[in-house]
Amino acid sequence: MKQAIKIGLIGGVVEVLLSLIGMIEAFSQRDIISHIISMGHTLLLLVVLFIGYLAAKGTPGRKPSWVLINGLTSGLMVGGGLALLVTMGGMMNLRKVFINASPLLYKLLTFDQGRNEGILLLLGGGVLSGLLAGLLSLAPSILRRVLIVSLGSVVGAGVLQDLLRPTVALWGSLAVVNEWLFSSNGLTSHGAIGLFALVTASSAFWAKKGNVIRSGLKSLPPARQRALKITALLLLIALLLGLPQLLGLFLSEVLTIIGLYVLLGLGLNIVVGFAGLLDLGYVAFFAIGAYTTGVLTSPELGFFNLSFWGALPFAIFMGVLSGVLLGVPVLKMRGDYLAIATLGFGEIIRILVLSDFLRPWLGGAQGIGKIAKAHIGSMELATPQQIYYLILAGCLLVGFISWRLRDSRLGRAWMAVREDEDVAQAMGINLSSTKLLAFATGAAFSALSGAIFASKLGSVYPHSFNVMISINILCLIIVGGMGSIPGVLVGAFALVGLPELLREFADYRLLVYGAALVAMMLLRPEGLWPEALRRRELHEGESTKTESVSGSESKST
């Protein structure tokens, strides 16, 4: 009970905060289900459900009556928090300090019913949702999972409506789905019910029969299994090649951006993940790759006017060269000294390309325009759907290289340096060359990414190479799982892809991004797809168990 009140209070604070930072109001303009529920109200509801569920789940003994009472209490507290906000707002002008405490917000919070009725509604709604959450936590786990998945897909479809509609419209006769599912603002009500039913049915089917199918696959004779694997691989290749046509313009663009970050992430993964050298200025090499391409190809500066393919080797070479040059002074530094020195390099490069001093050669604040596009034969790679293939090829190549490097002699030396420099040196590893090779390889990948970036944009500006890029790349490799190659991919999808998709929630994109970073690290400190070794380290006590789980996971995927 006490616990439930505490959780409820936290929930109330969260809801009030959401209201005061303007999220509820901003999201209320869009409907999840047309004319029935807006995104703002959905957010309020989801928070109260989650809080109620938490409170109910934490009930000691799990006696049904207490579970329900706890859910109810916490729901009441959450509703009470909002009711308090509405009351306070009626008594004084909160807007002098909190600019989002507008009359519209109160109208939304009281469901347009006047203050007193609204407060009753809030309290009643809180109690009801809390009770519902309690019931949910009492339900059998299969039912609960199915319900959560279906509810999630309806909300997801509503949130991503502007993205799904143009994409579905591309799929020929499937486009009729659009008419049925979406109205001009939100899902249609029959669409929402239909989607809910569809997802419920299919996930219930999977929950029941999934294991049977999986074990059925496993018990196939080895030859059939291999054939199956090859088919799956071929299918994957076909999918990768066909993806841009399937997804249309914008999603292809998102894929290319993710691809660029995968390239960067794979590079930084070598420096930070393999060799354990914390580099906060990784954007420097990205900038060097981009600017080398720009200077060599742009007719605006008119120095060389090379083609993209002519400039690419130089870009990578400059990356490697600067990787070594910047690597030498920091060889003796460790940990955070290294971090700040590299951060400095990143800033120095950005400031230099921006400076009036180097303006005649690098374009200064006005940047460099008209950078050459890549050509294959006579075809110009200009649209995202075409550039996708260039980036895909780059990612496959770099992924292959880093996969081979990881298990090579050099890769093992890097990991030895990561674990303990002194011991590594005592074992006969040449620290200088090992570290420099890590910097150089990482820089080469980054410069490649930079060159493609410059050609894709057609212009480069100093402002694109700020310290936030370095930090973002670091976040993505750690969220993905440090040192893990598939982790980079997962991290890039989560930290680059999702914010790209949510571009229209602009004001709150970074807020959610920040909260998600914290939450992800608290829940999965080892990352979303960790390297097997690191996972073992983090869960030393339970190593045998996790080992078997990871074994089965890697087989099923």
Binding site: V328, I340, A341, M521
Partner: protein, 353 residues
């Protein structure tokens, strides 16, 4: 002797020394050219130094928070810049209320004290929340994990405050007694700059004595040396960590008001750049080392103010102030080449970094 030296020198050492020497030569060449140019009088240089000191003491105060948290938890508290921002931004509303009611002009000292207290209290609360929610559950996690939560928390706080208070600039009311200047012959010092420098110096001296002399300070130092041994000695490690965050938050809140007095603008993004600078200062001085953080902050402030003119103006480089951060970071690398663990931070860092 020579032979031994030759054997122990690797090619990378030579390259490193060459880089260091090249930077030094450039610095000396630039400085001589500027000084012999005669464009700047001694009072100009005095101005540059005072500007640098004032800016540097703010960096130093923020850097204290970084360095203390680093000392005790071995983590970069990236969200400290938001701890710094939250205080003065919240206290702005108090200051504005005082200003419009005329209280600020009637009782300037008392109002300033209240503003300081509000700012310090807010920053402390934010620092405590950070510790409790984002860092405490991750104490045993690998080193980079809390760094990522700190980055996440930093974003979250920035945009939360933006949502709460708006994305515009708020102008701090001018405190009349702090305006104006004092003249010492041809040398001049602005009143609020003197106040900022003195206040920061007093605060830092106070903090330093607190850490060195009091029981709590000793307990904190012992926890930063060895957590397990300290807990065996009967020190409550959790409480000491919380205390460290409280002290760091208070220092940041105070630095925030000094910043507001000097620059008179607050904004949700105002913490980012001073935060990075202060972190740099902490590393420059030797991270984990409190006097080092102060020294690093002052050094950085001075370089930013004096550096571009002194080193670059004589070389005929256009718009040198655009390059001031580049100069600061190049000198940082120079310092770290010869002292890889910062100016003052030798033993501590080698053992634990």
């Amino acid at each position: 002797m020579w032979k031994r030296l030759r054997e122990r020198t690797t090619p990378t050492d030579v390259v490193m020394w060459l880089i260091g020497a090249a930077i030094l030569v450039l610095v000396i060449w630039g400085s001589t050219a500027t000084l012999s140019g005669g464009k700047y009088s001694s009072s100009h240089w005095f101005d540059f130094v005072v500007f640098g000191l004032a800016q540097g003491s703010i960096y130093a105060l923020i850097a204290m928070g970084y360095t203390m948290v680093y000392g005790i938890l071995r983590m970069i508290n990236f969200a400290h810049s938001e701890v710094f921002m939250s205080g003065p931004y919240t206290a702005y509303y108090v200051a504005a209320a005082f200003y419009s009611s005329g209280f600020l002009d009637r009782q300037p000292i008392l109002s300033l004290i209240i503003i300081f207290l509000v700012s310090m209290a807010t920053s402390t609360v934010i620092a405590l929340l950070l510790e409790r929610i984002a860092y405490r559950p991750l104490r045993t996690a690998p080193r980079l994990v809390p760094l990522i939560t700190a980055i996440g928390a930093s974003f979250f706080l920035q945009y939360t405050f933006r949502g709460l208070y708006g994305s515009g600039f708020q102008a701090y009311p001018v405190v009349k007694i702090l305006e104006g200047e004092w003249m010492f012959g041809e040398f001049r010092i602005l009143k609020f700059q003197a106040v900022v420098i003195v206040a920061a110096a007093l605060l830092m001296a106070g903090l330093y004595t607190f850490i060195q002399r009091t029981r709590i300070g000793k307990a904190i130092r012992s926890v930063s040396e060895d957590k397990e041994a300290s807990s065996l000695m009967g020190i409550d490690v959790d409480r000491m960590i919380v205390t460290t965050f409280v002290i760091g938050g208070m220092a940041a809140g105070a630095a925030g008001v000094l910043y507001a007095v000097m620059f008179k603008q607050v904004h949700f993004f105002m913490g980012f750049v001073p935060g990075i600078k202060a972190f740099t200062a902490a590393v420059l001085g030797g991270i984990g080392n409190i006097p080092g953080a102060m020294l690093g902050g002052i050094f950085l402030g001075l370089i930013e103010s004096v550096g571009p003119t002194l080193f670059l103006d004589g070389l005929g480089i256009v718009a040198p102030y655009q390059l001031k951060d580049a100069i600061a970071f190049i000198l940082l690398v120079l310092v770290l080449i010869f002292r890889p663990t910062g100016i003052l931070g030798e033993r501590v860092a080698i053992k634990k970094a």
